[in-house]
């Protein structure tokens, strides 16, 4: 594929609002995971909550989209000059020529969960102020962002569970290559809700303490929330050597099980091989890997075997979910931004909370930050339904 430039990007998660705060936390190896006090949830687990979402007030013209997920999107999109940069490029290309491809798994479902507690006792009807289109529907995030950014091109939410906002990069790349659009706002937003907290609990996949990816005693995930956005454009002469490029994407399916990967990680392997081929790279060209690394025993084992079969055992890697929690449909984009930060800052971030790396896993897992001038990095995202996506990012110079 032809490389695309990440001409603007931003992320907001439990470790910070915007890139500076995020990088400061990464440098300090600070985790944002805390015991769960969310809403009425009573579960023995830790979560990565973004402070202040409840206080966000959307402007009146966007009120129909009000929900936790879109409030976080609103909070995040003004950081790092992202919205301003999109406006500038929309003026250049035309609003119809910028697509919106965003990932979310649960959109505004929290509002529906709460509405179901307030149904009319006689008719069973939902409260009068319930908004299906603006809050509940999975598309609500993309509709909100398109309206908020005054864009008028193609728009879709890609909802493939925890690979959602990695796959948006692939869809945007195809739409740009096909000439449908000139640039794309991609990213992902997922916020805390009861469905995922109780759902992962029902599968016995949530850890009681902050998640410990690749640890010998790892015992599940910590759920987090995040928003991450990237503006993708064809690279031009203004891209300096510090610029970040998307070099390759790879997508595959496991065809195995709805909520568990095959033990050999063959679908993950296929996604990584495709991404390397799309980028015209060899395995030895990858300097750091941001693992999907959820912290469940079977996920991490399958990924480790898949990575080793593609890249060998020596490429340093980490899962940033020990810092942010597993941000589900936002994880792909959040971790792509983590990779972009790693490339820019020359820092391979530590996988937090992991004390003793599982010696049976064939990986070089980083438990401490390591400075490194990185050229090309890989990020994995895998989801329920056996949906796999790998991205390769690089420094322009």
């Amino acid at each position: 594929m032809s490389p695309l430039a990440l001409t603007s990007f931003t992320a907001t998660s439990a470790i910070g609002r915007g890139l500076d705060a995020t990088l400061t936390s990464l440098r300090a190896q600070r985790s944002g995971l805390l015991p769960c006090r969310f809403e009425t949830v009573r579960l023995d687990t830790c979560i990565g909550e973004v402070p202040g979402i409840d206080r966000v007030k959307l402007p009146a013209e966007l009120a129909e989209f009000d929900c936790r997920n879109n409030r976080l999107a609103w909070l995040a999109m003004s950081e790092d000059g992202f919205a301003a940069r999109v406006a500038e490029r929309a003026a250049h290309y035309g609003a119809q020529r910028i697509g919106v491809f965003l990932g979310t798994s649960t959109s505004g479902i929290l509002e529906t969960e709460i509405a179901y507690r307030h149904r009319d006792p006689c008719s069973g009807a939902l409260p009068q102020d319930f908004r299906y289109r603006g809050a509940h529907n999975t598309f609500s995030l993309a509709a909100f962002m398109q309206r908020a950014l005054a864009l008028a091109g193609p728009a879709a939410v890609i909802s493939c569970a925890c690979s959602s906002s990695a796959k948006v990069f692939a869809s945007a790349q195809r739409a740009i290559a096909a000439g449908l659009i000139d640039a794309a706002v991609v990213g992902g937003v997922d916020t805390l809700c009861l469905t995922t907290l109780y759902g992962f609990h029902s599968l016995q996949l949530v850890a009681p303490t902050p998640c410990r990816p690749f640890d010998t005693g790892r015992d599940g995930i910590s759920i987090g929330e995040a928003a991450a956005f990237v503006l993708l454009e064809r690279p031009d002469e203004r891209l300096d050597s510090d610029g970040i490029l998307l070099l390759g994407t790879g997508e595959s399916s496991d065809a195995y099980h709805m909520s568990a990967p095959p033990p050999d990680g063959r679908g993950a392997r296929e996604a990584m091989l495709q991404a390397l081929a799309a980028a015209s790279l060899e395995p030895g060209d990858i300097g750091y890997i941001n693992f999907h690394g959820t912290g469940t025993p079977s996920n991490d084992a399958a990924e480790a075997h898949a990575v080793a079969s593609v890249l060998g055992k020596k490429v340093p890697g980490s899962s940033t979910k020990g810092a942010t929690g597993h941000t589900l449909g936002a994880a792909g984009a959040l971790e792509a931004v983590m990779c972009a930060l790693a490339l820019k800052a020359g820092l391979m971030p530590a996988g937090l909370n992991t004390r003793r790396v599982d010696a049976t896993l064939p990986v070089s897992y980083l438990c401490e930050n390591r400075p490194a001038r990185l050229a090309r990095v890989m990020s994995n995202s895998f989801g329920f339904g056996g949906s796999n996506c790998t991205l390769i990012l690089a420094r322009a110079g």
Binding site: N137, A161, F200, S202, S253, G385
Partner: protein
Amino acid sequence: MRPLHASIESVGLLGPGLPDWPAATRVLTGVSRWQPVPPMLPLPLSLPSAERRRSGDVVRLTIAVGLEATARAGADPATLPAIFASSGADAQNCHEICEVLASAERQLSPTRFHNSVHNAPAGYWGIATGCRAAANSLCAHDASFGAGLLEAVCQVAVDRTPVLLIAYDTSYPEPMRSVRPIPYAFGVAMLLSPARQAAAVPLSWSTASADRMEDQALERLRGSVPAARSLPLLELLARGADGCVRLDYLDGARIELKVSHAA
């Protein structure tokens, strides 16, 4: 933008009064009258029994139309990238989860939870067919068919590969039905390819209003089920006629397709 091209190799269809593509062809060409009876969703025998037990209407619907389209084209479903487009995915399952979470116990079943992901039908499709190619699952509310079509045509054009598009919707029970009144399950599958045969479709934008169905009952169906926004295109394909159709997409944008049948 320059127009995008794809060939429509085959269609699979399952909706109210539209039990398969040949029957739908008779309705859409006016040979038989449309009967608004809910569709019978066949058991997905291609799934292993454990998955079959866990699967709901959306899985039955999508596997049925997907297998119909691939069988009609003589294509192997195990090799095809697939795109699933739906406004609400498994509507019944979503309702039941919200009910459980509003109860005191909040005892959510693991199966309900993994079926709640928008890409659950894609996951079951992969298990049923053994397909390990990329699968995508999109949502664009009422524009979901158009979003899936754009994604599919871009993939055909850029990757030069055949792609299976499956657009589907199912009905919510109350109380969600009142706020999102989708009356029927409806699924449509199209096998799109870069080869210039069958019906070739160049695609572009338009701001003119979308085409409507002449038959008032079918027009109501088109307007009430997002996946049925495909009906004007299906009608043209059923008639074997060349022509132009404008399909509903987002507010302020329609997708315009010029359909020409291979000689």
